[in-house]
């Protein structure tokens, strides 16, 4: 028995208007649940211009991903995020937790790029570069090589278990697990030296956390690319839900040209569709068969569409076979379809205030970051006034202030530094063995004492009570230098602080 909630036609006119439960004699409609058992999607393989782009991007991203941790730089792993030591090696640079601003900048640049690309051509990221798409592509390729294309796979799904089915399934999952494990291993290899990790895996000497994270990332790769697939995009990823606010009427999206295609219908190649009153859509359904999220693009733009363009490639092949012009499904804009804009006008609209603003901010951000990275000094200095004492008399007529100074050598070789202070007549650093030596990529926190005479003499005014602005300068000197012998790649930092003279 079907229960249907319906509005009474004249509900508004009845005094206590509202829904009324009606139990119809005949079910008038199908039912939809709020939770439905997922129907497995077996997309058909597709070849064409956009598919080749995706393959190229799969290779590009995966060569970088799998290859990067194996590169060496100055005798260490070129890219290594050493969380335990809180040092992040990126080729020539060593980033410290203090450089977290660069992580923020990276995220901002990532977000801005996403805005820009989405405004121009929709979900380019989803269709070509997102790990979910890339690994699904790899896993589907394996599946196709082992179990065959769509029809063969559908038949296999329906067939009862047999030695052949078991063998195919085992082979597929073994291959998937192999790729997934290598992916997990590579991922952990970004955080712990990958060569040592390989040795640890081979000798079963993995630490508990390394083992956990390798298994975790292997499992997520296997689960996401093998089992969940389009569900990640449809139900988990927020991007699908907020893409609509980044689209506008001039955004290139994958669209079915309704005006050209409808009314759809089957016909022989020899028949003139116009004579039969048909549009160009032959209703072969191939666009639905190739869709990795199982939607029908002819229903218009849907949030499930990840913009992979598989339906464009597939439809173009059919159009070609039929002898029709390609592009029944194509990248086009809402405006172009509505107003029948020519290609040139459509492309010109890519340069609209929205995209120009995104591009400008993005460029400014990237430029500022590049400049900041290029002028980065491998030395950091923090000066904090000592909390214990404001000021003290170090001897007759000499005032002493104490500071805590942290000197961080972010360079990958030991360096020697001198510490100097300026801003008051006669101000000097006392009781410090200069120059100080710091190991490669190390920090040292120590107490710094500064003294200044109350009566500097030489016609200079005596030190007034109160707080004075001073500057502490830390600069590198050559190893074993006597006095100030600057290095060829001298670095220095100036830090502001105050010197207090008691009343």
């Amino acid at each position: 028995m079907t229960r249907v909630v319906e509005h009474e036609p004249n509900a508004a006119s009845t005094p206590r208007g509202g829904p009324r439960r009606v139990i119809p004699i005949q079910p008038t409609a199908d039912e939809v649940a709020l939770y439905e058992i997922r129907k497995k999607i077996q997309p058909r393989a597709v070849h064409g211009w956009f598919a080749r782009w995706r393959v190229a991007l799969v290779f590009a991203t995966q060569i970088v991903y799998y290859g990067l941790p194996w590169l060496s730089w100055n005798g260490r792993q070129a890219v290594l995020f050493d969380l335990a030591a809180r040092k992040f090696y990126l080729f020539g640079g060593v980033f410290w937790p203090q450089d977290v601003i660069y992580l923020a900048v990276l995220l901002i640049v990532g977000a801005l790029s996403l805005f820009l690309f989405t405004a121009v051509a929709g979900r380019l990221w989803c269709g070509y570069a997102c790990p979910q798409t890339v690994y699904t592509e790899i896993f589907m390729w394996i599946e196709r090589k082992i179990e065959g294309d769509r029809v063969a796979r559908l038949r296999l799904d329906g067939a009862p278990m047999s030695p052949r089915k078991f063998a195919l399934r085992s082979a597929k999952h073994a291959a998937w697990l192999a790729v997934a494990s290598w992916t997990g291993y590579t991922f952990v290899g970004y955080f712990t030296p990958i060569r040592d990790l390989g040795h640890a895996v081979a000798t079963l000497a993995l630490g508990p956390w390394e083992a956990f994270w390798i298994l975790f990332y292997s499992a997520t790769t296997y689960g996401n690319a093998g089992w969940l697939r389009e569900q990640v995009c449809k139900y988990m990823c927020p991007y699908a839900r907020f893409q609509s606010v980044m689209f506008d009427k001039d955004t290139l999206v994958i669209t079915y040209d309704r005006a050209r295609g409808e009314p759809r219908g089957g016909r022989a190649k020899s028949v003139d569709p116009r004579a039969k009153g048909l549009g160009d859509c032959v209703d072969c359904g191939i666009c639905v068969q190739v869709c990795p999220t199982g939607i029908d693009i002819r229903k218009g733009l849907q949030h499930e569409c990840i913009g992979c363009a598989a339906c464009i490639d597939a439809c173009d092949q059919v159009m070609d076979r039929m002898g029709y012009a390609p592009g029944l499904i194509r990248y086009t804009t809402e405006n172009a379809l509505e107003r029948q804009l020519p290609d040139r006008a459509r492309w010109r609209r890519v340069l609209r205030p929205r995209t120009l603003a995104y591009a400008l901010v993005l460029l400014a951000m990237v430029g500022a970051t590049a400049w900041s990275l290029a002028t980065r000094v491998p030395l950091r200095v923090d000066v904090i006034r000592d909390r214990g004492t404001l000021a003290r008399e170090a001897g007759p007529g000499v005032i002493e202030n104490v500071y805590r100074i942290q000197v961080m050598n972010t360079d990958e070789r030991p360096r020697h530094y001198t510490v100097e202070a300026s801003g008051l007549p006669g101000l000097r650093v006392v009781g410090l063995d200069q120059p100080i030596e710091l190991e490669a990529a190390s920090a040292r926190l120590f107490a710094l004492r500064l003294q200044a005479p109350l009566e500097p003499g030489e016609g200079k005014p005596p030190l007034a009570p109160g707080s004075h602005k001073i500057e502490i300068e830390v600069g590198s000197v050559a190893a074993g230098a006597k006095g100030k012998e600057l290095e060829h790649d001298h670095v220095e930092r100036h830090e502001q602080s105050t010197f207090i003279v008691p009343r």
């Binding site: 909630v5 939770y35 439905e36 058992i37 104490v402 926190l445």
Partner: protein
């Protein structure tokens, strides 16, 4: 331990918690069984829920396994309430408390660090002071536990002795320094204002200044001398050289814990020092630091003035 002051509130929160969980479960069960009619010929499917006259909700059914995840969160919540403190005043069967968790973490860190410090216990303190690694460890300990009063450079400040010089209130031998750290020091200068009177205080102050060669009124110093012998010599000694057993400072040297000006010395004699608050006393560290850390720290302090 509970943050609730009365059982009533605990009960109220517990009931609200359980009712909320039950309501979530009921809602989930209802939604899981709910079926919405798909209207014939309608392109856009909604949940059938219409409000404000024409607002409807699109229906994109979630996969069934997603619903089981929601059920899992309910199971998790109930399991959590059984295992951990969360339901009113119930402590949970695991008996977990944040205090225990913290104490456990401290214990495990201490256990990890103890060997690094305790290996110095077997060494002579003066050798420890010359060990560069021990010195670096000592510096960090000092910055953590001592610098608040003695300053980051151990140079001290008013009322807090300088530890870099060779002048010691309680003695500068390794043993005495360790003793100071372990048990603390409670030196006390009593107030003499009532006993000596204003003039008497000024006389003694003048004499005290003269001891270290500071300019002082000669007549007052002469008078103060007698008063000093009667009132101060018991601790500071007849010659004012001090006594390290009670922490009485040497008054003949240029080091002044509370200042050398006439006003400062007068203030010291009149009102005493160290009585007004425990802040000015050296606290005992035997309960804060273990023997290994104290060894490293004592060696560092000794080394400040004895190791170059």
């Amino acid at each position: 331990m509970s943050d609730f002051v009365s059982t009533g509130w605990a009960l109220y929160v517990a009931i609200v918690t359980l009712v909320s969980i039950a309501a979530c479960a009921a809602l989930l069960y209802g939604m899981g069984r709910m079926r919405v009619a798909r209207k014939a010929g309608e392109r856009v499917e909604t949940t059938g829920h219409v409000w404000d006259e024409d607002l409807a909700e699109l229906n994109h059914p979630l996969p069934r396994w997603w619903m089981w995840l929601f059920y899992a969160t309910i199971v998790f919540a109930l399991a959590y309430l059984v295992l951990y403190p969360g339901l009113g005043k119930l402590p949970g069967v695991l008996g977990w408390t944040s205090q225990n968790a913290y104490a456990g973490e401290v214990r495990s860190f201490d256990a990890k660090l103890a060997p690094r410090y305790s290996r110095y216990l077997a060494m002579d303190l003066e050798d420890v002071a010359r060990d560069p690694e021990a010195r670096a460890m000592g510096e960090r300990l000092f910055l953590n536990d001592c610098a608040q009063c003695h300053g980051s450079d151990a140079g001290g400040s008013k009322g807090f002795p300088n530890l870099r010089d060779h002048d010691w209130l309680y003695g500068g031998t390794p043993e005495r320094i360790r003793e100071s750290i372990v048990n603390g020091r409670n030196g006390l200068m009593p107030a003499f204002g009532a006993a000596l009177g204003d003039e008497g205080v000024r006389d003694v102050a003048a004499y005290v200044r003269s001891l270290s060669g500071l300019p002082a009124d000669g007549v007052r110093a002469q008078i103060g001398r007698r008063s000093f012998a009667q009132n101060c010599a018991a601790c500071h000694g007849v010659g004012g050289k001090g006594n390290q057993d009670v922490g009485a400072p040497n008054l003949t040297d240029p080091t002044w814990l509370y200042g050398s000006t006439e006003a400062a010395i007068t203030e010291t004699i009149r009102n005493g020092r160290g009585e007004a608050s425990t802040v000015t006393r050296m606290p005992a560290h035997k309960d804060r630091l273990d023997a290994g850390k104290i060894q490293v720290l004592a060696a560092y302090v000794w080394g400040l003035s004895n190791v170059r």
